[in-house]
């Protein structure tokens, strides 16, 4: 059986300098830190919400000067939760791919890492837009 050789043109040694490798490892390290701490904080927020979240949100809505309702707070919580989960997942994936890409010297893996990073920025765009809309509605 004839095996086709993998194309070598994308192998990264030719394209990426040591400075880039160092920068990518730095990005990988800090995105891993952010995603690990983010997941830990999410668990610390979600667990109490599962146990007594309804009462806590009702209490918050009833606070003087809160200018909101219970249903608005529930929607707000789920928006924040979904956005945080998406962003943390994309960061975690890009962190792993950057590390593997540098270690295996594979530019395709690195490119996949940047695609996940782009997805992280898209999630950030959606999250920032929703938050800005909510903030602007509070002015009215």
């Amino acid at each position: 059986m004839i095996q086709e050789e993998e194309p070598q043109e994308d192998i990264f040694d030719d394209d990426i300098s040591d400075a880039d490798k160092t920068a990518l490892l730095e990005i990988s390290k800090w995105t891993r830190v952010i995603s690990a701490i983010g997941f830990a904080i999410s668990v610390m927020v979600v667990l109490p919400m599962l146990l007594d979240g309804s009462a806590a949100l009702k209490q918050q809505a009833a606070m003087p000067g809160a200018n909101t309702t219970y249903s608005k707070l529930v929607v707000d919580f789920f928006i924040n939760f979904l956005a945080a989960a998406t962003m943390l997942y994309q960061l975690y994936k890009s962190s792993n791919l950057f590390l593997n890409g540098v270690q295996q010297q594979n530019s395709n893996t690195l490119a996949q890492g940047f695609i996940h990073l782009k997805n992280f920025f898209i999630a950030l765009i959606v999250f920032a837009s929703v938050r800005m809309a909510i903030n602007l509605l509070n002015f009215i």
């Binding site: 000067g65 782009k118 765009i125």
Partner: protein, 147 residues
């Protein structure tokens, strides 16, 4: 068939991925800054007078002084938030502009500068997340100790 005449039509899959990521990062940076500024404005407009503030008679602090302290604390939080927003905005837009310029003009050193800026951006958020985690753990410990 129509040919791709964009300035990045000749580049590899990796460079194209970095370029698209940088373009998205630029939009994200502007929207994140705008969102942060509206949130800070909301915070500064918060109707403090509607919140009942108990006097601290043991420390000899009246309600007016407590309200003044709370107002000062809100200003401090707002200043820190503006500073963080501006610094992260700077690094993210720098990453975006350097990478776009580097890929379009085939300048590897400019791309490296851009990647270092992205590293600094995530480093700032990483340190802030560590501080947030410490704050969470201390708050939880405080609540447990108070019963």
């Amino acid at each position: 068939m129509e040919q791709d005449h964009s300035p990045v039509s000749h580049i590899s899959f990796l460079q194209r991925s970095i370029f698209v990521s940088a373009k998205t990062a630029n939009i994200a940076a502007w929207l994140a800054l705008a969102s942060a500024l509206t949130a800070i404005t909301n915070l500064l407009n918060f109707p403090l007078q509607q919140i009942p503030i108990p006097e601290n008679k043991d420390a000899g602090i009246g309600e007016a002084e407590m309200r003044q302290m709370l107002r000062g604390f809100i200003y401090l939080v707002a200043i820190i938030a503006v500073a963080i927003s501006l610094v992260t905005f700077f690094f993210l837009t720098r990453f975006s502009s350097k990478v776009k310029k580097g890929v379009s003009n085939n300048q590897p050193t400019t791309i490296s500068e851009g990647l270092r800026s992205l590293g600094s951006y995530f480093k700032i958020w990483g340190i802030l997340m560590m501080l947030a985690m410490i704050f969470f753990v201390l708050s939880a410990l405080g609540l447990l100790l108070r019963g």
